[in-house]
Symmetry: D2
Subunit: 336 residues, 4 copies
């Protein structure tokens, strides 16, 4: 079998990152074409990477019979429609997260995927992170025993502009959704209740926009485990991404990654590097690995490592967290 031909829809930061990952690190796939609503610089980028085709729009890309699979890296509000069309054209799909901000549209995507029998993977890249994947392996190998408590700390180095809150759906749908997926992934169980203790301490403008920037989110899982996620939109020391799974036989704890393992010992103290700055630095390896898995799953016709259900259920938890934050009450999540 030849290389898998990939079409990339959306050539922003994340689209270009995937294009490079595939070109440099995945021998079994080839970025055949690319498209974006912004044409500026697109041809140069394509040329640099040896991408043969620059399509006028995603329709043209989806019409190309040579394309086997697409990466949907456009803005969130376009994900679902493009995904449905791609499925109808028989293309396998990698869709950046969130699939959509409404469960209804995610379900439509799910139906189109199922009906057209294409492969679908959501861009919850953190599942492929070396630290978190290792913890998942330890959990699955029974090293932690029965899982009792899952703890996730997730803090950004700097908040997005306050006006971004409306577009993104707010902190829970934009940022915490990664953590909800991680919690579900590590617990291997759905979140059945969420209580979000959230507030605005970083930037008043975020609060004025109706959003929060600091939260402690309490979780109950279907399997009886409990958990907590704590978020901040601004950690002075940078991107903080830690996970802990505690169970009957012990705990697995992931600390932050840092640029170096050097420490400086002087008359003041012993000091070392801050964590890697933000998601591009911190999760680069996971972006490559999710692509590798995507290609392998397509080649071998296996189940998706991060399917439509993961996109949908993480969204449902995020929406429940938003509701809990507003009502001040715990919210039970209905999956029926």
């Amino acid at each position: 079998m030849g290389k898998i031909n990939i079409g990339i829809i959306g050539a922003g930061r994340i689209g270009r990152l995937h294009a490079k990952s595939i070109s440099y690190h995945i021998p079994g796939a080839k970025v055949l074409g690319i498209t974006d609503i912004i044409k500026d610089g697109l041809s140069d980028f394509a040329e640099e990477l040896g991408i043969e085709k620059v399509y006028e729009n995603h329709e043209e890309l989806l019409d190309d019979p040579l394309i086997d699979a697409v990466l949907i890296c456009s803005s969130t509000d376009t994900h679902a429609d493009i995904a449905v069309k791609a499925a109808q054209k028989g293309k396998h799909i990698f869709c950046e997260k969130p699939v959509d901000l409404t469960p209804e549209k995610v379900l439509q995507v799910g139906e189109a995927v199922e009906k057209n029998n294409v492969f679908f993977q959501v861009g919850f890249n953190r599942r492929f992170d070396h630290n978190f994947a290792h913890i998942k392996n330890l959990v699955q190998a029974g090293e932690i025993g029965d899982v009792h408590v899952i703890k996730i700390t997730s803090r950004d180095p700097a908040p997005p502009p306050a006006e971004y809150s409306a577009v993104s759906g707010g902190m829970f749908l934009d940022m915490t959704i990664h953590d909800f997926d991680m919690a579900r992934f590590l617990a291997d169980s759905e979140i059945v209740e969420v209580f979000a203790n959230a507030t605005c301490l970083v930037d008043p403008a975020i609060g004025e926009a109706g959003d929060v920037d600091t939260a402690v989110i309490s979780l109950k899982f279907a399997n009886g485990a409990i958990g907590v996620i704590d978020n901040s939109r601004q950690a002075a020391y940078g991107y903080d991404q830690r996970v802990e799974v505690f169970g009957s036989k012990g705990a697995a704890v992931a600390e932050n990654d840092k640029p170096t393992n050097v420490s400086l010992w002087n008359a003041d103290n012993i000091s070392s590097d801050k964590p890697l700055y933000f998601f591009l630095e911190r999760y680069m390896q996971s972006f490559v690995d999710e692509m590798t898995q995507f290609m392998e799953a397509i080649s071998k016709n296996t189940t998706s490592p991060v399917g439509i259900k993961d996109g949908l259920n993480s969204l449902l938890v995020a929406l429940a967290a938003k509701e809990s934050s507003k009502s001040g009450k715990p919210i039970v999540i209905n999956y029926d």
Copy 2:
């Protein structure tokens, strides 16, 4: 001024520990006498430490005009009555935690203390722990900026017998009360709402006794900060006592203390010691330091570092957590 003469009421594990701390490490104080309802071995212990008097009961001890201050180390249900009597006799008081399981009796103690103008300190020893006291100093020095999130992990190496649950008032009043006080101490603010997500995962017998053994407790503070405590009655790797204060300028993070700083590097992995086993090993230094502070405060006539309000308010939070755990709802705490 001469040495402060101390009388110890209750010569169990903690009473003896304090007797030794004072005898060995506090030149300005002297354990003059001791009493316990169990007479067996008491004289031998007194002789070993050079304690002159063994009283028949706490009334006799309180009647001795030579006694300046008492340590109340008897069973919890006797604390309040003894404290009231001690106050009436004009003795300064160090009282082990919890002062009582009911706010009413704690208030009675408070009134007696105030009326008789004696000094009163509760045995929340962890405030004096090297790690946590250092974090408090960093917070007070403004190194963390405004406090946004307080996180406490507190896990025991092994659960108490299930029948202990009834006597102790359950996990929140017996174990988490230390963490509630720590949260108040580090936030320098009262807890105004608590949501306890608690369950029984360690030992079904604990659940049958109406108690919980695993919890994630979400907190709101009067100053706007939020927080979380996670508890387990059984960590396979031993006593887990970590604290993190996150604020606008950064975070202060306390890791566990270990017996040695040695690691073993071999073909399997890099391994190091588990944490110090339990509270006697882990908090020994804090027990000495709380005594030192008690004596200094009496000598210098300063305010109590851990007063009746700390005993009362931590209890109110613990009771609210218990209620939240039962009702499944967040509970607002009323301090009026």
Copy 3:
């Protein structure tokens, strides 16, 4: 200016690694052609990377006027002759370490390079390692003050076959030469005396072949600092690459890199990953960065970051260490 056209001589493990680094990570350069004495699989490799030309031999490659610079990745005994020819053809040169096992031939290369005014860089890749480069920066920024003591621990996960000892010149010329260069680099001063306390403890066959596998090597630098390197051909826990620079204002300490930052806490102990397995895993980033520097230096016509003098002087120290190990005496190194 267009891309720098690179010719690679020797397509073994390291030659192929450089080919990929350049193709994937260095936009300003292009691998135009490649050659190797082993033809098997060479065309396939070239095709995979889009390398246009596969030369019959290095002479043909050097004759190609389109080639701007060459990477000499063939066996050590061929380095010097090829480098001299490349210089004569006006090609810039990146030469894998060691340049040669004899100072005479290294000097010949140096003369050819100077006479023909080409750029020359030796493959002491560790200078570009994130940890060690950071320490160098700290030293240069004066953070350590005056350098007093340099310590390097360098242990391999497994020894090479005993018969390799003869070919490679033995442990000091094959393995420790990296550490000698690192010591010179960090001290920013030449090594003027060496005392090698070396023995054979890992594998008797290595000793029978006249080589050593375990060593503590004491150093004196021209600037008055002192140092020590300790080597082993076999660390049970894998590749151990640590560095410490101690000076009047403090110390900078580099610990090993590991695959993850996860630790497992259980009833036995707290355990974490062993170091990254060997040089390909551990130093991958440095191989890319030395190539980037090579290209930049050529483009900008700057001095070599690792010049012929570094290749020569590190070799002289290695030879002195070998002599010291045999004679049991400290050896003064003559640089005239």
Copy 4:
């Protein structure tokens, strides 16, 4: 059997420290009497600890038939004579290190000890340190396999006055002697050759006094292992006491002890405490434990954990290091 009655000769810092250790932590022993050439404050100290007798001089103390054992904590030049007399009086002996600066006098002590059949222990307290004792246990349990390399880093926070160099015998006899004993202890083998690469980089006055302040000392052991000690009289970050034993099955590595396990994460870096300041802070637990062992060995009539041979052989290595440093040559040590 009753308590062991102890007489302390020399009530300086270390004598008083031992007096407190015994009084507070060792129920089986009692400090019966004390003496010092400086009378000032001696009675007050004795009274504070409940020490019954204050002797005029060490002769009077040694004549007291109630004294079972003595601690020799006077100045180094008096150790040997007092030890000989104590042995002749049948007293068991704990002698601070070094026993003497000349092997001859140490041998005299050894003869007197043997002839009078008394117990003798040298104050190499570091053998009882939690970290180093744990490493020794790992070595003895075979966890490291055959020992290949022993590494000791030992740096003081500040140099002694330059004039102290003459009195103390210089850095190797005063400071490194502890490290030589530690190396012998961990290797369980004698040092047969030493090469001291030493210099004066901290304070020129030390050099003018004929001493060194910075050293890398290469070691060969009788069992074939090799090793290295690095010393500095001044580490800007405080007392640096690390040990590493590397063998066929792995390595055991002891890091420094610190006042807290707290780290501060802020916009600058991640920082933590410097090591505990100096030997009193760092080795307090070992001082108590060596006393406990001393008493136990006397009670149970067992072999000394740190006998006259340890005092003698560590001194011989120190003298050889001094000679090597002066001659610039490795020195073979003759133990016959």
